[in-house]
Subunit: 491 residues, 2 copies
């Protein structure tokens, strides 16, 4: 009988005639989740084999800015040193809002309670954090500083339910690219701890028995299908699916609007598909991180977005990814950022942003944009009238970013579909419990199978609630959890 299998279709254990490799714990993918899973599995005494499709470790995390979203327990030492207290309750409240209606209370609780310790653990692995604080509003720090405001903490409605604190802790590296440093350290730690890493090796399929227990994987290595037995557990840390056009169209069609995938190149959804092949449930597959970095310069945050009805629709001081989701779903996907002469500057990430209208009066701008007569003018006047008094009763933009737009010339920067490029990665994935066990349609664990990072639906699971550092925080922490849990059957 020919054995057939694919990521979407498990190989039957009963048909495997020999094992090429035998180990305790298999880790698929050597990114942030995989490296941390390997470190903890080794610490639990398991023999660990990591299979990485690329020629080197790091995954998409090594392309990131290296921000880790941590706090709680009164504050990390970096938060406290710079005068920020951060209770576990505030972190928990923030993370619940960040997850939206699909937030996972159990996962959030575990993370909020242990995030500060997790930060200490990352440093104990050798990940460098300078310990300094960078005030202001940034997408990624341009310096090698540590602590920054990396989400919507100070913005409505988040600031009403959780006391704001900066929680982005950035790996020491000057400029954008701290993720590379983070991953060099973590991968080396996993190797030093004794994890055996197979590069250039693609995971083809899970191996499951008639009782639906996961017993190993099939990998393609040196052109040959290779059967790998896991005596204790298989951990899927193979990233999300932003690189898989078919999956994006099928599961997260709105993400297809964003031309720029945020990825190291191997987020092909194979981990998620392998989980589904043995009956795993998936959660929030339609959700994705998206952004259109309309600042820096931060002065642009003082501008106001309007849609084709001339109306505002978002407090522009919330996280840029939250703004992006709101911009993308305006009628006919048309929106403009209105600025006056004082705050104007070209967005440094998209310097060639199209300026659709310029005028000495807002009436001129409205007319050039072809909006209903009086619509934009009314929105600007209302905004200005209240901004004078330091209020925004409509959209609750915070006082720091309120300034009447009264200094001509005025301009409208286009964030209409086609005029900007969106950045995106997927947030949906396998359903897991806080230990990383993959859950089936009834919420029961699939014996022998674990997942973490973007292969799982983790802490970050709602585009509108995303904050920088959530994905790395989630991947590293829950990767560790999975590494421990997957070692539980090591004798």
């Amino acid at each position: 009988m020919k054995i057939s299998y694919s990521p979407a279709r498990p190989c039957a254990f009963e048909q495997v005639s020999h094992w090429d490799i035998e180990t305790d714990v298999i880790v698929v993918g050597f990114g942030a989740a995989g490296a941390c899973a390997a470190i903890e599995a080794r610490a639990s005494g398991a023999q660990v084999s990591v299979f990485e499709v690329a020629a080197a470790g790091g995954g998409s995390a090594s392309w990131s800015g290296g921000e880790v979203y941590v706090g709680g327990s009164g504050g990390t030492d970096v938060q406290r040193e710079h005068g920020f207290t951060d209770t576990t309750e505030d972190l928990q409240a923030y993370l619940m809002m960040a997850g939206g209606s699909a937030a996972d209370a159990a996962r959030v609780k575990v993370y909020a309670e242990q995030a500060s310790q997790h930060f200490d653990w990352l440093r104990a692995q050798g990940v460098p954090f300078k310990g300094t604080y960078l005030p202001g509003k940034w997408i990624e720090p341009p310096t090698d500083d540590t602590l920054l405001w990396s989400g919507s903490e100070q913005a409505w409605p988040f600031n009403e339910q959780a006391k704001p604190a900066p929680r982005g802790h950035t790996v020491q590296f000057t400029g954008w690219g701290g993720g590379k440093v983070l991953m060099e350290v973590l991968c080396q730690r996993a190797i030093d701890a004794g994890a055996e890493v197979y590069y250039n090796t693609r995971a083809l399929s899970l191996i499951a028995d008639a009782d639906r227990q996961v017993r190993g994987i099939v990998v393609r290595r040196d052109g040959k299908d290779t059967f790998v037995r896991a005596r204790s557990g298989v951990i899927l840390c193979a990233g999300g699916f932003i690189c898989n056009t078919d999956m994006v169209k099928r599961f997260a069609p709105d993400a297809a609007e964003c031309e720029l995938p945020v990825t190291g190149g191997n987020d092909d959804g194979s981990g998620i598909r392998m989980g589904m092949s043995v009956g795993a449930a998936t959660l929030n597959m339609h959700e994705f991180f998206a952004t259109l970095p309309f600042f820096p310069p931060a002065s642009l945050v003082k501008g106001i977005f309007v849609n084709e009805q001339g109306r505002r629709f978002i407090n522009e001081d919330c996280y840029h990814g939250r703004v992006a989701h709101h911009v993308m779903r305006q009628p006919n996907q048309r929106a403009w950022l209105l600025v006056d002469n004082e705050i104007f500057g070209r967005p440094i990430i998209q310097e060639d942003i199209k300026v659709t209208a310029v005028g000495e009066t807002w009436e001129e701008v409205e007319s050039e944009l072809g909006l209903p007569s009086g619509s934009l003018v009314h929105s600007v006047n209302e905004f200005n009238r209240y901004a004078e008094t330091g209020e925004d009763p409509y959209l609750h933009k915070s006082q720091d970013w309120l300034r009447p737009l009264t200094e001509p010339p005025f301009a409208a920067l286009s964030y209409c579909k086609g005029d900007y490029q969106g950045h995106a990665f997927t947030l949906g994935g396998l359903s897991t419990n806080p230990d990383g066990a993959v859950l089936d349609a009834d919420g029961q664990p699939i014996v022998g199978l674990y997942a973490a990072g973007r292969t799982a639906c983790g802490l970050p699971r709602w585009g509108e609630g995303y904050s920088s550092g959530l994905s790395l925080g989630d991947s590293t922490f829950f990767g560790r959890q999975a590494g421990k849990a997957a070692s539980s059957r090591v004798s």
Copy 2:
């Protein structure tokens, strides 16, 4: 070895020692999709066994209004008789919009091309349609008439991309409840055609072999687990999951806001879970139909909804379910329907609707609602100013429903969370091709497995795009498709 199985975990074929029942085609669920699947499978020469958990057939369809969304091919004879032409292209364009960004072009095409013939087929089965036309705006016809406007056809933005035509074809029955007649006829037809129906029988699990082929099901009957072999195919027509609180919280948390499930009582998601157990992909699991029936009387459609910013947000003349989704996602889930004395009437489905504010001027209403000074007044003034000229440049409400709100007293009916009860059913389900074959994570068919109705993610897959009659149209048509396809291996 003890055999273990559940809806989320298949029973291994290799472990089944005997068959209690053997048949060609198994149909799980005797609702709209199941009855039509059984009829077509019998017509294809298959031996057919239907397993229904309830004591009688009909499913949730028998609780519906009995509207079937059909048209195209120039129009059904009922459409044409009343002067409406309806091209296949217009139906197709409308259905693509109705599906939103996740619309399935192949499925829409097949349906648009064959919907008019499908209507003839329903009549050939004996389903009664009077053939008359009921003008006006209704949620369900209060008469025994046939043809009505049952969606957003005449409303923006639908009317810009598809020439409007009424497409709701309602089974003859005076008042709400045509679904009961529809299902009596279809179930009897299936029985007369020779389908063997087992009532009071719960499907427990699929039976799949090591090659992931579906070979039968386990059912609980007379307190005993009973093994049923399907020589050709298993069709899952077990409804959606609105009755399963755990699944709603996990997969469609926003639907949990709606207190009133639209169901015959057995939409427990078992069909979807059985599909997932053998590696089926699910689509749009977060989506759901929702409504808050704010009319009739239809005069209320001339009112305008505003949110806590005093702003309008939807053209109130679109389908009531589309309005509902927009109402439910306003900031803090607060919205009010503003009416004047001329159009006021108590909504007949929720007569005790809370009237939060009444005033002789709109300023009084705004103040009673505690909205930002000038906000509501501006919205009403803008609406009135343009309504005078028969225009709504902001939200494109059609001229028929535009009338200035100028006759005091004025009132605000509350559609804030807690003040209304939402109705809902789920729209997410198994991924299938237009023939009804269930697809895995790679989009490949799972041999021997089919699904239709709300167990599948069908034509209706986006709450904002729903139209009355889409679910029955989809269930009956794609139930037939699955019945044919599942019989393909009958020798």
